[in-house]
Amino acid sequence: MSAAGDRDPAGAVFEALADPMRRRLLQTISTSPSTATELAGELPISRQAVAKHLTALSQAGLLQRERSGRDVRYHVTPAPLSQAVSWMADVGGQWDERLSRLAALGDRHRERPRH
C-alpha cells in the first residue's frame, strides 16, 4: 500500500547519486556526520550549494538530520540500502579518479606516442 504521490525510492536514490558532488558529500558524511557549514569548508562549493545537495540526498532517504543545539548534523541513513549506496559512492568515486588519470595518460600518449 502506498499513498498517492509517493516517489519511487530507488529512482530517487539513483537520481540523487547521479551527481559526482553529491556522491562525494555522501562519502564524506559516511566517514563522519557533519553540518552543512563543515561540509562547505571541506569541499570546493558554497554552503548554499551544499545545502541544496543535502536536501536532495535527504529526500532520497540517504541522509538523516539530527538537531544538536543550533546546528543540524547529517548522518548516513543506517539501512541496508545505504550500505549499497555508500559502496556505490565509494567505488564510483575511485573509478572516477582512476579514469581521469588514464584520460590524462591518453592525452600524453596522443601527443608523443611511446611506440
Binding site: 549499497a84 556505490m88 567505488v91 573509478w95 582512476r98 600518449h109 596522443r110
Partner: protein, 139 residues
C-alpha cells in the same frame, strides 16, 4: 542483490594499441593502483596495492583485441578483487572500437548476499572458479 558501478571513457587509438594500458604493469601502476601484479590467464593471480591497502583476487578472463580499428573490435579483461575486511567484487574492463577511437567500459559489481555467504570463489579448481563468477553475477 548486485551492486554495480559502470563507467565509460573515450580514448584515442585502437583497442589493440590501448591493450597495454590494461595489461602492462607499468601502465597499470600509472592509473589503476600503486602496484599491480596480474597473471594474465584465467585463474591467474591478481594483486593490487593502494597505499597501505592490499587487494587480492584472480583473473577470470583475458581476451586481447584483434588489431585494427574496425568498429566493434573488442578486448576484455575481467578479474576479482577483495580487500582484507571487505566483500569481493568483479571488475570488467572492456575496450571497444568505435568511430572516433576506443571506449573503455568499466563495470565493477559486488554480488553481495551470495558472496558474503560463500566468500571469494577461488581459482583452486580453475574451471569451477571461472564458472562460479558469472553465475553469481547473474544471481
Amino acid at each position: 542483490m548486485t551492486d554495480l558501478i559502470e563507467r565509460e571513457l573515450s580514448l584515442p587509438g585502437t583497442p589493440a594499441q590501448l591493450w597495454p594500458a590494461l595489461t602492462d604493469p607499468e601502465w597499470l601502476r600509472s592509473w589503476l593502483a600503486d602496484d599491480v601484479a596480474l597473471e594474465l590467464r584465467p585463474g591467474g593471480e591478481a594483486r593490487f596495492r593502494f597505499g597501505d591497502e592490499l587487494r587480492e583476487g584472480w583473473v577470470e578472463e583475458v581476451t586481447p583485441p584483434a588489431p585494427g580499428s574496425r568498429p566493434g573490435t573488442t578486448g576484455r579483461l575481467c578479474f576479482w578483487w577483495q580487500a582484507a575486511d571487505d566483500s569481493a567484487s568483479r571488475v570488467s574492463l572492456e575496450l571497444v572500437a568505435d568511430r572516433d577511437g576506443t571506449t573503455l567500459r568499466v563495470v565493477e559489481a559486488r554480488p553481495l548476499a551470495v558472496l558474503d555467504l560463500v566468500g571469494l570463489p577461488m581459482p583452486g579448481d580453475a574451471a569451477g572458479g571461472v564458472r562460479y563468477g558469472p553465475a553469481l553475477i547473474a544471481a
